[in-house]
C-alpha cells in the first residue's frame, strides 16, 4: 500500500525545494523534494501524492519529459509547472502537454500557497467527478482553454472573448473581489490578466489564454463577481480582445470539445 503524501517538489535548485517545504509545511502539508525528475519518478512508484510541483528547465529529464513519463506510467496526479518569465511560452506548451497550471518564478509565499491550494482543490474536484457526476461545468465545446484556468472563444467578427472556467472558480472556493486590467491594454498569453481574491483571502492570478489588445472589459462582471460564478462561460466573460497571434496561440490551447470524448 502506497503511503499518501501531499506534495512532491521537483526543482534542481535546492533552495527552492526547501522554501516550498517550509512554506507548505507551515500550512500542515507534507512535502517531499527531488532534485531531478528521474528520482522523482522513483518516489512516485513508492508513494502517492496529491500534487506535483515541477520546474520546466532541468538538466537531463526536463519538465516535458517528466510529463510524458507520467503519462506512460498512467499517473494522474495533477502537475503544476514552475518556470521563469523567460519561458512563459514553454509553460503554455506544458499546459497543453497535461500540466494543470503553472507558476512563474520568482514567487512569493502567498503566490505559492494560492497555486497549491487550487491544485489540491483541483485534485479533489476531478476525483469526485469520476465517482459521483461532475462537480463543475466543463467549458462549451467550441471554446479553447488554457490549462483549467481560462477559456477563449473566437467570435464571428474576429475578436476573442476571454473568461475563467467553472473549475477554476470552484478551486478558489468563492470570490471576494475581482481586479481587471483596463481597456486598450495589451495582454500576453500565459501572463496574468486578472486577479481574483477568494473568500479565504488568497490572491489568484488568471493567465490570459490569448495575446492581444483589450477591446472591451466586462465591468459588470467585475463589480458583481457572483455573475461570473453564475454563468462563467457566457454572461460572466471578462474581456473582449483583438488577438495579435491567434492562429499560433490556438495551437497551444486545449479544445474544450476534447474534454467530452
Amino acid at each position: 500500500m502506497k503511503s499518501q503524501r501531499d506534495i512532491l517538489v521537483i526543482d534542481d535548485e535546492q533552495v527552492i525545494d526547501q522554501a516550498v517545504v517550509k512554506i507548505c509545511g507551515s500550512e500542515g502539508l507534507s512535502v517531499d523534494t527531488s532534485e531531478d525528475a528521474a528520482a522523482a519518478l522513483k518516489l512516485l512508484e513508492r508513494d502517492q501524492y496529491r500534487l506535483i510541483l515541477c520546474d520546466i528547465m532541468m538538466p537531463d529529464l526536463d519538465g516535458f519529459g517528466f510529463l510524458a513519463a507520467l503519462h506512460r506510467m498512467q499517473i494522474t496526479t495533477p502537475v503544476i509547472m514552475a518556470t521563469g518569465y523567460s519561458t512563459v511560452e514553454n509553460a503554455v506548451k506544458s499546459l497543453y502537454c497535461g500540466a494543470i497550471d503553472f507558476m512563474p518564478k520568482p514567487f512569493t509565499a502567498d503566490e505559492l500557497l494560492s497555486v497549491v491550494h487550487r491544485g489540491l482543490a483541483y485534485g479533489r474536484l476531478t476525483e469526485k467527478g469520476h465517482s459521483a457526476g461532475l462537480a463543475y461545468v466543463p467549458c462549451p465545446s467550441k471554446y479553447y482553454r488554457l490549462g483549467y484556468t481560462s477559456w477563449s472563444a473566437v467570435e464571428q467578427e474576429g475578436s476573442v472573448l476571454v473568461g475563467v472556467s467553472d473549475l477554476f472558480l470552484k478551486t478558489i472556493e468563492g470570490i471576494r473581489s475581482v481586479e481587471l486590467v483596463s481597456s486598450d491594454d495589451e495582454v500576453v498569453q500565459g501572463n496574468s490578466c486578472a486577479v481574483f481574491t477568494s473568500l479565504n483571502h488568497l490572491v489568484h492570478s488568471v493567465m490570459c489564454p490569448i495575446s492581444g489588445r483589450i477591446l472591451e472589459v466586462n465591468t459588470a462582471a467585475a463589480s458583481e463577481p457572483a455573475a461570473i460564478e453564475k454563468d462563467p462561460y457566457f454572461q460572466g466573460w471578462l474581456y473582449r480582445i483583438v488577438p495579435s497571434e491567434l492562429e499560433y496561440e490556438l495551437q497551444h490551447l486545449v479544445p474544450c470539445s476534447s474534454d467530452r470524448v
Binding site: 535548485e13 517550509k22 521563469g84 523567460s86 520568482p106
Partner: protein, 605 residues
C-alpha cells in the same frame, strides 16, 4: 578619371558601337559599290548592243560613211569615252576618234588580252568576261571597256560587197569604252556619307551612354562614397539626399533587429539565471513576513526586502518585455510616492557623491494610472544619471511635481498617421525632437521631395526636404502610393493656401497648411476634447550638461556618453516606458549649467 566605372562603361559601350557600326559600314559600302558597277556594266552592254545593231544594216550595205558618222556621233557623247570597231587583224576600221582609223592595235593591249592572252584566240566570250575596268595612266580616272565580238553570219558573206568570206568566224570587235568618273564620284560620296554617319552615331551613342551612366551610376556612387567617408570619419548623422530613406531604413532595421536579437538572448539568459536566486530570496522573505506578523519592527524591514525583490522580478520581466516590445502593468498610483520610493533607493549613493537633494512635490497631484515599478525604475535611472553628470565636486538635484492643465496644441503627439490607402506615414528615421516624424511627399513646379512634419500637434519643427512656393502650386501625397492628401475647396483659414490632411487611425483627421512658413494645423477630435491634465515631474541637476549635438540622440538605444560605464539602454528604455504611458519626456540642457528632464503623464490615459 580613367579608373572610374562611368568612364569604363562609356568606353566599353563606345568600342562595341565602333566595331558594330564599322563592320556595318564596310559591308554597306561594298554592296553599294557592287550594285553601282553592275548597273554601269549593264548600261555599257546595252550601249554596245545598240551601236552594233544600229550599224548592222550599214555594214551589210557596206556604207562606210554612214557607219563612220553613226560611230562618231554616238561616240562623241560626253558619257562615252570611245567607240571603235577593229577587224580581225587588229586594224581600227571605225572609231569615234578619227585620228585612230587605220592604225593597228597591239594585240597585247588591254582590249585584246581577253581573247588573245591564250595562244589561240578565243572565239566565244562570256558576257562577264567582255568587261574590263582599266586606267590609261595610273592617275587618270577609271574606264569601263566592253568588247562585243562581231560574228560572221550568212547575211555578211552573202552580201554584195563580198568583203567577208564564209569561213571567217569572228569578223571583228566592237569596242566601247565608258568613263567611270561619275560612278566613282558617286561611290566616293556614298562612302564619305556612311563614314560620317558611322562616326556621328558612335559619338552620339557614347555621349548618351556617358550621360546616363554619370547620372544613374556615377553620381550616386560618388555620393555613397563621400557618405561612407563621412560615416567612417565618425559623422553618423550624415545623410544622403534621396537615398536617405532606403539606406537609413535598412540600417535601422539591421541595427534594431541585430541589437534586439542579442538583447533578447541576453535577457532570456539573465532572466533564467537570476530567477532562481530571486525565488530563494522572495520565498524566504515573504514566508518570514507571514511568520512574523506579531513583530512589527521586523515587518517593516521585511516588507522592504519583499517589495524590492518583487521590483527586481519586474525589472527582469520588463527586460524581457523590452525584447518582446510588451506593455506595462498599470494601476492607480501616486507619482510623489513613486518618486520618494525611487529616491530612498539611491539616497545613500547621492550623499556619498555630495549631492544635495531638493524636493518640491505639489500635494494636489492626483493619482495616475501607471506601472509604478516601471516609473520607479525611470526615476532611479534619471537621478543616477543626474548624479553621474554632477561628478565628484557635488551639486544639487531638484525634483519637482506639478499638476498641469494644457491645451492640446504642442503636447499631443501624433503617433499614427496614414494615407487614404492606409500606408503609414510615420517615419522613425527622421526624428523631430526625438520623436518619429510624419513623412509626406510634396511635388511642386516639377520637383519632388519629402516633408517631415513635427509629430507634436501644432508645433513648428517641420523639416522640408524640398523648397517650394505654394503660389506655383503644390501637391502633397503619400510617399508610398502617391495618393493625394490634398483637401479640395478648403483653404487655410490663416493664409488661404491649399491644405492637406491625413488620418490618425481611430482619432480622426489632422489638417495642415501646405505653405512652408505657415504652421496652421487642425485636429478636430483633439481640439474638441479641450484642456488636458498632466502630472509633470521635473528632474534637474547642476551637472556638466549635454552637448547640443548629442541632445537629439540621447533617447536612441545604445547611445551612451558614459563610455564603458553605461550600456546605453537607459534612456531608450525610459523613453519607451513613458511612451507606453502615453506620456512625454523632454530634455533641456546647457553645457556647464545642467540638465532638466521633464516627464508628463496624462491624468486620464
Amino acid at each position: 578619371m580613367f579608373k572610374k566605372i562611368g568612364f569604363k562603361l562609356t568606353v566599353a559601350v563606345g568600342m562595341t558601337a565602333l566595331v558594330t557600326i564599322s563592320v556595318f559600314a564596310y559591308f554597306n559600302i561594298r554592296s553599294d559599290r557592287r550594285s553601282l558597277l553592275a548597273e554601269m556594266e549593264r548600261h555599257a552592254n546595252q550601249l554596245s548592243e545598240v551601236v552594233k545593231s544600229s550599224t548592222e544594216y550599214d555594214m551589210l550595205l557596206n556604207q562606210r560613211d554612214r557607219i563612220h558618222e553613226t560611230i562618231k556621233r554616238v561616240g562623241n557623247r560626253h558619257d562615252i569615252k570611245r567607240i571603235r570597231v577593229l577587224n580581225k587583224s587588229g586594224e581600227i576600221i571605225y572609231s569615234s576618234d578619227s585620228t585612230e582609223i587605220g592604225k593597228m592595235v597591239d594585240k597585247n593591249a588591254e582590249s585584246c588580252t581577253k581573247c588573245h592572252s591564250a595562244d589561240r584566240p578565243l572565239e566565244r566570250l562570256e558576257i562577264k568576261e567582255r568587261m574590263r575596268i582599266f586606267q590609261i595612266h595610273p592617275d587618270s580616272s577609271r574606264m569601263l571597256g566592253i568588247i562585243n565580238p562581231i560574228y560572221n553570219s550568212r547575211s555578211c558573206y552573202e552580201s554584195d560587197c563580198h568583203v567577208h568570206s564564209k569561213d571567217q568566224l569572228v569578223l571583228g570587235v566592237l569596242d566601247v569604252t565608258l568613263p567611270l568618273s561619275e560612278v566613282d564620284k558617286d561611290i566616293r560620296r556614298g562612302q564619305i556619307e556612311i563614314i560620317i554617319f558611322a562616326l556621328s552615331a558612335i559619338l552620339a551613342l557614347s555621349l548618351i551612354i556617358g550621360f546616363f551612366v554619370t547620372r544613374w551610376v556615377d553620381t550616386p556612387v560618388k555620393e555613397l562614397l563621400s557618405a561612407t567617408q563621412h560615416v567612417a570619419g565618425g559623422d553618423l548623422n550624415y545623410t544622403i539626399k534621396e537615398k536617405r530613406e532606403k539606406l537609413s531604413d535598412a540600417r535601422m532595421q539591421l541595427f534594431q533587429s541585430d541589437k534586439l536579437a542579442s538583447l533578447g538572448r541576453l535577457a532570456a539568459g539573465v532572466a533564467h539565471e537570476i530567477n532562481n536566486p530571486l525565488t530563494g530570496v522572495l520565498t524566504y522573505s515573504s514566508f518570514l513576513l507571514k511568520r512574523t506578523q506579531d513583530q512589527p519592527e521586523i515587518q517593516e524591514d521585511l516588507k522592504v526586502i519583499v517589495r524590492e525583490t518583487i521590483r527586481s522580478r519586474e525589472i527582469v520581466k520588463s527586460l524581457l518585455d523590452f525584447a518582446r516590445q510588451s506593455v506595462p502593468k498599470k494601476s492607480e498610483a501616486d507619482i510623489n510616492e513613486i518618486a520618494n520610493r525611487a529616491l530612498s533607493v539611491v539616497e545613500s549613493q547621492l550623499s556619498l557623491h555630495h549631492v544635495k537633494l531638493v524636493k518640491t512635490f505639489s500635494s494636489d497631484v492626483p493619482k495616475v494610472t501607471v506601472d509604478a515599478n516601471q516609473l520607479q525604475q525611470v526615476f532611479i535611472n534619471l537621478v543616477v544619471n543626474a548624479s553621474d553628470a554632477i561628478g565628484p565636486e557635488g551639486g544639487t538635484i531638484t525634483l519637482s511635481s506639478t499638476l498641469l492643465s494644457l491645451s492640446p496644441i504642442g503636447i499631443t503627439q501624433i503617433k499614427k498617421a496614414q494615407c487614404p490607402k492606409r500606408h503609414s506615414l510615420i517615419s522613425a528615421d527622421v526624428r523631430i525632437d526625438g520623436k518619429p516624424s510624419i513623412r509626406v511627399k510634396a511635388r511642386s513646379n516639377g520637383t519632388e521631395g519629402f516633408v517631415y512634419l513635427d509629430p507634436m500637434y501644432g508645433m513648428k519643427g517641420h523639416q522640408h526636404g524640398i523648397s517650394f512656393d505654394v503660389k506655383k502650386g503644390v501637391q502633397v501625397m503619400c510617399p508610398e502610393c502617391s495618393a493625394s492628401l490634398m483637401v479640395e475647396h478648403k483653404p487655410c483659414p490663416e493664409c488661404s493656401s491649399p491644405i492637406f490632411a491625413f488620418e490618425v487611425p481611430s482619432k480622426g483627421i489632422v489638417e495642415s497648411c501646405t505653405r512652408m512658413e505657415c504652421n496652421w494645423q487642425h485636429w478636430e477630435v483633439v481640439d474638441a476634447s479641450g484642456q488636458k491634465e498632466f502630472v509633470e515631474l521635473k528632474i534637474s541637476d547642476t551637472g556638466c550638461g549635454i552637448a547640443k549635438d548629442d541632445l537629439p540622440k540621447i533617447f536612441e538605444p545604445f547611445y551612451s556618453t558614459k563610455g564603458q560605464k553605461g550600456n546605453g539602454l537607459g534612456l531608450a528604455v525610459i523613453w519607451g516606458i513613458i511612451d507606453n504611458h502615453n506620456g512625454t519626456i523632454r530634455v533641456d540642457s546647457q553645457v556647464g549649467a545642467g540638465t532638466t528632464f521633464t516627464i508628463r503623464i496624462p491624468v486620464k490615459p
